[in-house]
Every structure is written in structure tokens, then in C-alpha cells.
Symmetry: C2
Subunit: 254 residues, 2 copies
């Protein structure tokens, strides 16, 4: 095939290190357009902007990085890129490289994953790539992984309405143990709220917490990454709990 | 059992008509606490607020309505209510009554559904209730439905990690044809972006669009509501596409 068209976005914003690393990696494979939030949009989940207008600004960074910054969410970026900015529909949407893993229950909060979800909803094969570190880390390993996964997707195609959620361990590239196809686990943030008083005597709260993973013994996404493997989970948004339909049908509402 | 403790929230904000109608209906069943966004938060999906502090303000409206307004998302409201504001864990979280249905693929954008999701993630039975009308409608039918569903949930319990997504047709109560247990359908907003110029000559975009439902012949959520039935869909967040695991395992990453 001719050089594929790749749309790159993220949720850490267009000035993050991770998106620049992803742009660099994808540019070796195809013609890349970057459309990303103009500021950090972590934990926005699948938010879209319906009550405010969206604006788009060109951004140029060092080493030839060029993209479009949008005053919206990751899902907004994918929508406006495909439906207003790009001349042709892209062949692939890649979101990341996120600073921090997106695994378990936490993926429902993830802007990175939601950008890839938006791509699949628009019938474009989509991938989310995250690095298991909140530091401004070495993205070399994650770049190689992103390239390998993207080439496999171009080779094999993706199941309709299904994205790949890729998580990369934050270790030197030659220490990565391999790839594991995983299931979404139960990793979750155990939140608490820290109550404080501002200088005028008014109360406010900070949400804080730490990640817990109740079933690290099962072969799931966060477990794979913690063990030094790249985790690839196929994600879709068919949310009906079919196992519960029969019982609900037995409830008598008459 | 003694009077149950019910947490009421929404995404249209604490000043909406729908949440007042829900508060009224739930007060007939249990002791209600309202914790809701201080302004409209539609389409925020499962966003949470991690980079800003949250503030909580008491709100009193006519007829004894009393609640707490939070400068955050619906998911924030459920988290802070359960983890900081309420003395005891509630027996139930009810979100709504939303102005507009939440069906098909669109539920991933829904703040109403995400509040119920947050409840289930905190292991509390949770229900989302939406009325199929964007007008400031008559909520009488939806109030009766909410009461009926809540009483059934207290009678039968809910499957762990599963919420009920309830959609009510916007027709007079005595014309509602009954209840249907449904599956999440494919209803989706077909977006487009309207490009405009502001008074200073700068470009901006409005997202707009209309709902389409590619499979109205199948027995799904939006179909039931359009046909005059109450739709009840059991929703969970196990997002792994198991059907695709085998194929992915056959990809050779070595």
C-alpha cells in the first residue's frame, strides 16, 4: 500500500514529551497529522465539548514537529480532525504515548483510551499506547512497541469497533520480556479526599489516592506490565451485561 | 429494612428540573441526600477532576429541596459524597432524571450513566434514569418509573459491578406501554462541525449533529423507548473483546 495516513493525538496535550515521541515513531511508517488538546486533559474520560466552541491553532515544536492544538478533549480532537480538518479519512488513529499506564477499571477515566475509542466509533482502526511511568521517561522502548503494533495492525486489520490498548513497561528496551495479549483487569484507584482550608477560611478538597490491583495473580493488563511485558488488550464498548438479562426479565414490573 | 439511604445526583446540574423531580420521588422511599454538579455537565463522560480542588456548597430550592453543589463532574460528585461528605455509605445511587435519553453508543459520553458507573465501582447498587426529551418536560411518568425500579432493586438486589440504565419515553404516564429489558443498541450521534468566524475574524467550530440508530429493527434500548416502552439495560464495564483474543494471540510479535 502507499504510505498510510496516521492521525496522532493524546490526552497529556500537544506539548507533552510522549506525543512528540509518538509523532517521531509514526513518521517512520506513514504521513502523520497531529491533532491534540492544547493543554493536559488527563482523566477526562470520554468527555466531548458540546456547550463551547472549539478553536484550532497550529503548533510547531523543535525537530520538525508540526500539529494542531484544540481547546477540547481527546475525543473532540479525533472528531474535529476527521470531520473538519483532514482532507482524507486517516488509515489509523494512534493515541499517546501516555505518561502513566492505562489498565484495569481505570481505562474508563482515560482520555488516551477514549481518543482511540472515538476512532473506532468512526470506523478507523485505533490504538492507545501508554508507558507505565509518570516521570518524563525514556520513550525509546515505547516507540519501538508502537511501531511494531502499528505494522501488525496494517498487516492483519482490526476487529470492527475494537481498539488495542497497549501498555509498555518503563524499563530499558532490551529488558522488555515480550508481548502478552491480556484482559482488562481490576486495577483501580482507591481514592480519598484531603480536606483543606484556603487563605480566606473556605474549605476545599483534593482528590488523591493510589492504584490497587485486587487480582494481580490473574493474567491481566497491569500484571503483564508489572512483570515486564508489553500488554495488548482488545477493547470494545458493548456494555450490556448479558449474564444478567434473564434475571432482570424475571422481575415483575406489571 | 429501615428507611434506605439514597444518594441522588445528575449531570444537568443541581438547578435542573429533572433532579428535583427525582429527589421528590426518592423522598417517598428513603432518606435522600443530593450531591450534584453546580452547573450543567452533559457529555462529560466519565471525567474526574484531578488537577483542580473541589468545593462544596449547600443549595436550598423551593419545597424543601436541599442538596450539595460541587464544582466537578457527576463522577466527582459520587466519589466525594461517598468518600468525604456522607456519614454512612448509601444503599443506592440514583442519577437523573436526565433531560434526553441515554441509549446506544452514546452512553459512553453520558455523565448521567457515569455517575451510576462510579456508584457500582464503589460497590453500591446504582441506577441511571433518563427521559427521552430535551424539553423541560413533565417528569411524572419518569418519577413513577424511577420509584418502581428502585423498589425492585431493593427487593432483588443487583448483580455486582452492574448498573441499570433506565430510559423513559416522554409520553403521558398512562400511555407508557410497559417495561422492556433491553440491550445497548447502536444509536449514535452523527456529528458535523459548523465552521464560523468570530467578530475578530478568528475561526471557531461548533459540534452539532443528530442521533441516528442503524438497527432500529433489533430489540434494543432506543427502539424500546421510541416504541413507547420503558427500557432497562444492565450495563457493566468489562471491556475486553474476548472474541478477538485468539486472533491477537496468533499475531507473531517475536
Amino acid at each position: 500500500m502507499s504510505r498510510p495516513k496516521i492521525l496522532v493525538t493524546n490526552d497529556d496535550g500537544i506539548y507533552a514529551s510522549g506525543i512528540k515521541a509518538l509523532w517521531e515513531a509514526m513518521s517512520e511508517i506513514g504521513d502523520v497529522t497531529v491533532v491534540a488538546p492544547n493543554r493536559e486533559q488527563s482523566a477526562v474520560g470520554h468527555a466531548i465539548t458540546v456547550s463551547d466552541p472549539l478553536r484550532v491553532e497550529e503548533v510547531i515544536r523543535a525537530n520538525g514537529f508540526h500539529g494542531y492544538a484544540v481547546n477540547g478533549t481527546p475525543a473532540d480532537c479525533v472528531k474535529i480532525a476527521i470531520q473538519a480538518l483532514l482532507e482524507d479519512k486517516p488509515d489509523l488513529v494512534v493515541s499517546g504515548i501516555n505518561h502513566g499506564s492505562n489498565t484495569g477499571n481505570n481505562i474508563i477515566y482515560s482520555g488516551t483510551v477514549s481518543a482511540a475509542t472515538e476512532g473506532t466509533m468512526l470506523d478507523i482502526p485505533s490504538i492507545a499506547v501508554s508507558l507505565n511511568s509518570f516521570e518524563d521517561s525514556d520513550f525509546t522502548g515505547a516507540q519501538s512497541v508502537a511501531k511494531a503494533v502499528v505494522l501488525k495492525v496494517f498487516e492483519n486489520g482490526l476487529s470492527k469497533k475494537t481498539l488495542l490498548n497497549v501498555n509498555v513497561p518503563s524499563i530499558p528496551e532490551n529488558e522488555i520480556k515480550g508481548y502478552k495479549i491480556t484482559q482488562q483487569g481490576n486495577a483501580v484507584f482507591k481514592d480519598r479526599f484531603e480536606k483543606r482550608e484556603d487563605p480566606r477560611g473556605n474549605t476545599y478538597y483534593w482528590m488523591t489516592g493510589k492504584m490497587i490491583d485486587p487480582d494481580l495473580e490473574i493474567d491481566n493488563d497491569q500484571k503483564a506490565v508489572s512483570d515486564g511485558f508489553v500488554s495488548i488488550t482488545p477493547i470494545h464498548y458493548r456494555l450490556t451485561n448479558h449474564d444478567f438479562l434473564d434475571e432482570l426479565n424475571s422481575w415483575d414490573f406489571s
